[in-house]
Amino acid sequence: MAETLRLAPTRVRRGLPGARGRRAGAGRANTVGLGTALVFLLPYLVLFGAFIVAPIAYGLWISLHEWDFLLPGKPFVGFDNYVELFTSGSVSSGPFWAAMRATAIFVVLSVPLLVSVPLALAVALKRRFPGRNLLRAVVFAPYVLGVAVVGLLWRYLLDPNVGVVNYYLGKLGIDPVPFTTDTPWAWLALVVPTLWWTAGYNMVIFLAGLQDIPRELYEAATIDGASPWQRFRNVTLPGLRPVMVFVVTITILASANVFGQPYLITQGQPGRETRSAIMQIGEVGLRQFNMGRASAMSMVLTLALMGISLVTLSFLRERKARR
């Protein structure tokens, strides 16, 4: 069983049956010359350098200064901005770590749902039944909306006093729930709209992944007497592993970069409890024009996200190696 299963991810990644043959010729490619490879890579490297590497390097440079691009003096302060972030009681550390904490809570609450619900939807909508395409479109539809639309829509739906949701809860005899102004409700007011908004995207990726799992595996499993749950557990999930790695990683990153939902729906309320890291970085960098400080915050956030991504990747990979 395990042997057959490993084929699925391999096929997904290499695509063509001939892939093995090409890999055998890889040694020859080396002898063709590094130059040829570089020429092929160049367009990508230019873009990658100009839009990823250079801005990161520039951001790192800014984070070592007290930087306001309009002021003539941009004094070099070394690692002061970073030291400040890790000194409790300083101007920037309290709000920043509160925002990091809020972001972490949002990630922990949203990612499991943003992975499991789309997966369930994908499995359900993979079956053939009338209206399947319509349902797929309906689930995906909110994703085409901008965050401003989503935010305003849900803000009015969930308003504690004048919102529609509380109106109907009231009809059922339930007291108004402070969805947008108090925790833990505010987390619900951030996670549910995010789920409604982006579940369709992850679902589409899962659907594509499901198409790549060979039908013979399901047939074999059925003949072996596997129940639907066992088929899901032992055929679908392992078959989706590479897709799962991708979905989990990008979902964590997307959730960690949450901005529009707390900015519009809860406005960081109560106090700064639902204020996300990006909101805080934006306020410091673009409102208070302390770009040095804001860049240092971004660097810390980036490092944290790189760390989390590595952990996720190794976690999902390790399980594969154990099999």
Binding site: L71, P95, P160, N161, V162, P178, Q267, P270, R287, N290
Partner: protein, 374 residues
């Protein structure tokens, strides 16, 4: 404003003004960048609490010469707004308007409750609330936890004899007894049930439109929003005196000329012509729910005919502006605006929240002094 600009362009074939409208949130982030890159506007209108910041960041240039060339003096404007355009002894802003908070009341409901006059002081307001409750309006005065709660707080703390900052804008003073009293007064309505708790952004205005919230403090510009609601009978009055003396939050839009225009004499001359022309015709602007800063316009019969604006214009002697210190506008949000939110949501006691916020504000103010060399 668009119509004004079109008329101006028609009358001045040698000058073309292109108007761009931005969200204020975007404005203060984008315009400085654009001006630095030479791709921004030559003239802009900005809020009084952002004037010093933009002057210190050299986004806008001193207008003393322009003012004297146009022969504009203190006598042409209300003294409060005119002096608010000065930063470090130089004039950067030519005032366009003043926009204070006002009291809005559902006069239909208030009349039904047997009260004919709009409340002007604490006792009258509290009586009106009680009368409305007796007449069946369960929650007549919604106290919001977000905008414009901190503007109410600014009005109240000054009424109780306190202030947000000291006169130099060097330290925060809002954690005073007056500050605590102001917040306690606001939260008392939630405690007594006259206001629902957890009033989120816009909910109090939405409820005012739906005739559920019958008393609200909001910006003068909201008058046009109420006017759109069919069947809503409403009236406006000066913000009631809750403390010991009248005081009301206000802001002012000020014309500024960017450093981009200053490099070109023609552009500078055109900017000056435009500002002078608009200033004289700011009655059109007043109709959108603003009080003209220009005396000749504010004292005209045309302005007197604008009922709500005239009523709220009576507050001009009592308006409170922040000190013109660079960066001061950005101290508000993370400090006392946050404290007001926490206290109204019942997350912290008034003294505790204000003390914490004042500490933060002092740090930010010190930071700004170092940064802008103020």
């Amino acid at each position: 404003m668009k119509d004004l600009v079109d008329t101006f362009n028609g009358e001045h074939p040698n000058i073309t003004v292109e108007m761009t409208t931005l969200q204020w949130g975007d404005f203060y982030a984008k315009v400085p960048n654009a001006v630095a890159a030479g791709a921004g506007p030559e003239i802009a209108v900005l809020h009084i609490d952002q004037l010093a910041t933009n002057a210190a960041r050299r986004v806008v240039v001193p207008l003393d010469d322009l003012a004297s060339e146009l022969q504009l003096t203190e006598n042409d404007f209300h003294p409060v707004v005119w002096s608010a355009g000065i930063y470090q002894d130089q004039r950067y802003g030519i005032p366009l308007d003043v926009h204070p908070l006002g009291l809005y009341v559902n006069t239909g409901l208030l009349g039904a409750a047997g009260v004919d006059e709009l409340p002007a002081d604490r006792a009258a307001l509290e009586n009106a609330v009680a009368a409305l409750q007796e007449s069946g309006v369960e929650q007549p005065f919604w106290v919001t936890a977000t905008w414009p709660a901190h503007l109410m707080f600014i009005s109240l703390i000054n009424q109780f004899g306190g202030s947000i900052y000291d006169a130099e804008g060097a330290t925060a003073t809002f954690n005073s007894e007056a500050g605590v009293e102001s917040l306690n007064w606001l939260t008392s309505f939630i405690e007594s049930g006259a206001s629902p708790g957890d009033v989120a952004n816009d909910a109090q205005a939405q409820a005012f439109r739906q005739q559920r919230n019958s008393i609200t403090w909001d910006g003068i510009w909201m008058m046009n929003e109420w006017a759109k609601v069919d069947g809503l009978e409403w009236g406006a009055a000066a913000v009631p005196v809750i403390g010991d003396k009248p005081a009301v939050w206000a802001s002012s839009h000020q014309f500024v000329v960017t450093s981009q225009a200053a490099e070109d004499d023609n552009k500078l001359a055109a900017s000056s012509a435009f500002i002078a022309w608009i200033s004289e015709r700011s009655i059109e602007w007043a109709k959108s729910g603003q009080i003209p800063a220009r005396n000749s316009v504010r004292e005209s019969a045309e302005f007197e005919a604008l009922e709500v604006q005239s009523i709220l214009a009576a507050q001009l002697p009592d308006v409170v502006f922040p000190p013109t210190v660079a960066g001061i506008g950005d101290v508000t949000t993370p400090t006392f605006e946050l404290a007001v939110n926490e206290v109204i949501l019942g997350k912290a006691s008034a003294q505790e929240a204000l003390d914490a916020a004042a500490g933060k504000a002092d740090d930010l103010l010190a930071d700004n002094r170092e940064k802008y060399g103020g």
